[in-house]
């Protein structure tokens, strides 16, 4: 999923300071899974913003709503009945959602989370980066471990000389992706694959050719 973390609350308070009526919009997909911007987090943030206002002797009007997702215009359209009654929108979705709302409505839109990475759950409460959307997936030849996303240097012919106890030189909490790849190749009995040279990457599918688009003619 796309992971995110809530922004420092003072930053959010700074964004909404000029406004009295806020629409606080959550998203039921990725940010719900990583507990950053789902229904629960909308409730908590609204409560925190109320507590903040009350401490200053003021009240603030917050309408709480959580959409199925914010990256599809059909769902964002549901906000049309509320948008006329508010001064500003705070979105707890990832950057994709925030921009979809901003593209549809005239009201100012502010992000409440910092979008982080495409990752997977390691265990409850822990998410790790797994994919950087390079657009040319090589997981089929690296035993299912991505060197682009999980090697700190995105080496295609790693490991470098900095591995220490199987961990990356940047720190003992980071696995050396190439050590993981090697172990997988060995477990699968295909360690000879290791010596095949992976050519320099073409970064175009990965965003090197500008903002990316997918058009499915059969679905338009």
């Amino acid at each position: 999923m796309i992971t995110a973390e809530q922004k420092p609350i003072q930053e959010i308070i700074g964004y909404i300071a000029p406004y009295d009526k806020i629409l606080l919009v959550g998203c039921n997909e990725c940010v719900t899974v990583c507990a950053a911007g789902g229904r629960k987090e909308v409730g908590l943030l609204a409560s925190a913003l109320h507590l903040n206002s009350l401490k200053q002797g003021k009240t603030i009007d917050i309408k709480e709503i959580t959409l199925e997702r914010q990256c599809d215009p059909e769902y964002v359209e549901e906000l049309v009945s509320y948008i006329g009654e508010v001064d500003a929108v705070v979105s707890m979705a990832c950057g994709c959602g925030v921009q979809t709302i901003a593209g549809r409505y005239k009201a100012p839109v502010f992000p409440a989370v910092n979008t982080k990475f495409m990752g997977a759950s390691k265990s409850q409460g822990i998410w790790e980066e797994r994919c950087q959307g390079c657009g040319d997936c090589m997981l089929g030849i690296t035993g299912g471990i991505c060197p682009v996303a999980r090697c700190s240097k995105s080496l295609l012919n790693g490991p470098c000389g900095g591995t220490s106890n199987g961990q990356c030189e940047i720190g003992p909490d980071t696995d050396c992706a190439w050590r993981l790849i090697w172990e997988r190749l060995v477990a699968l009995g295909i360690q000879d694959r290791y010596e095949e040279l992976n050519a320099a990457k073409d970064w175009r599918p990965g965003g090197g050719a500008g903002p990316r688009k997918i058009i499915r003619e059969d679905l338009i």
Binding site: L155, G158, G162, T163, S164, I170, W178, Y194, L197, A200
Partner: protein, 307 residues
């Protein structure tokens, strides 16, 4: 000969080659580079100039290399994959060659996290193995990485690093094989303190016939003190410093430790001269360049051959 490199000539002659390094300054001015180069010039066949080592900004390796070249000496420039994309790399390579530099090392580069600009975007457009392949094709095929022809190609003698001590150990011979297949001409290893492990690695290297295809220079670093030895053992990634090394330095009073360190370096060289596949030595004595001559003389490697 593939190139005009003095290092290539010395290696081809069958003599043991010696290289050392100079860290360029963290500011402008040619004097420091000249001073350090002058300390080691008669004792080496090539002088490495490091490239933003440990991700700290320094005078560029190529600029340092040009200063060394202008002194009539033989620079070995280093290029890390961290700071340049393939366009900048190739531009710098043809520029460097045009200014008389004919030997270079292709490296991945320490992660920016360690340096003085951890907020920078690390490049890593290509890795060190891709870089070796790229420079080889520039030389042999006169082609840029993108496929176009190079008018006058750079004839670079291509080097890379090897670390027999990083894990997983079983991968380390295979990784060297990859670099050899990509076209590397010489290797400078990480500094060696665990000679047994190094010799085991060399056995694996020779078993695969890699010693016939690439010239391996064993990395030697003299310890200045037991504090330095402990630091390298515990804080530097990919370093293997056996306890015997620490104990030996501990057994000597502080003022005598530098002498002991030099002595140990000379002993290492003497032992590794006998190791099959070792074609020379790369002496890394950062901020201690004034003692390089002692090590080279002590190991019977002075004077350097005429080629």
């Amino acid at each position: 000969m593939k190139t005009e490199s003095r290092l290539e000539k010395v290696l081809a002659s069958g003599a043991l080659a010696v290289t050392s390094e100079v860290g360029p300054p963290r500011g402008c001015g040619v004097d420091i580079v000249k001073e350090k180069a002058n300390m080691i010039k008669d004792y080496v066949d090539g002088i490495n100039i490091t490239d933003n080592q440990t991700a700290m900004v320094r005078m560029s390796s190529i600029a340092g290399g040009v200063i060394v070249k202008q002194m009539g000496l033989d620079p070995i420039i280093q290029m890390v994959a961290r700071d340049r994309n393939r366009l900048a790399m190739q531009a710098d390579i043809i520029g460097a060659y045009s200014l008389g530099i004919n030997t270079m090392l292709c490296l991945s580069g320490d992660h920016p996290k360690f340096g003085d600009h951890p907020n920078a975007k690390a490049v890593y457009d290509v890795d060190s193995v891709n870089m070796i392949d790229m420079v080889k094709n520039m030389r042999e095929e006169s082609k840029f990485q993108g496929g176009a022809d190079i008018k006058i190609p750079p004839k670079m003698f291509i080097g890379a690093a090897a670390n027999p001590f990083a894990d997983p150990f079983e991968l380390r011979v295979m990784r060297l094989a990859k670099k050899v297949a990509a076209g590397v001409d010489f290797i400078q290893t990480q500094c060696i303190f665990n000679l047994d492990k190094f010799e085991t690695w060399m056995e694996g290297v020779c078993e695969r016939g890699l010693d016939e295809k690439v010239s391996i220079l064993a990395g030697i670093t003299p310890m200045k003190s037991v504090g330095m030895a402990r630091y390298m053992k515990n804080k530097v990634p990919g370093m293997d410093v056996p306890d015997e090394v620490i104990k030996r330095l501990e057994g000597v009073p502080k003022e005598k430790q530098p002498e002991e360190g030099i002595k140990m370096a000379v002993e290492q060289i003497e032992r590794l001269k006998e190791c099959k596949g070792v074609a020379g030595f790369h002496i890394m004595a950062i901020e201690w360049e004034e003692r390089v001559h002692e090590i080279v003389e002590g190991a019977g490697l002075y004077p350097r051959p005429q080629v």
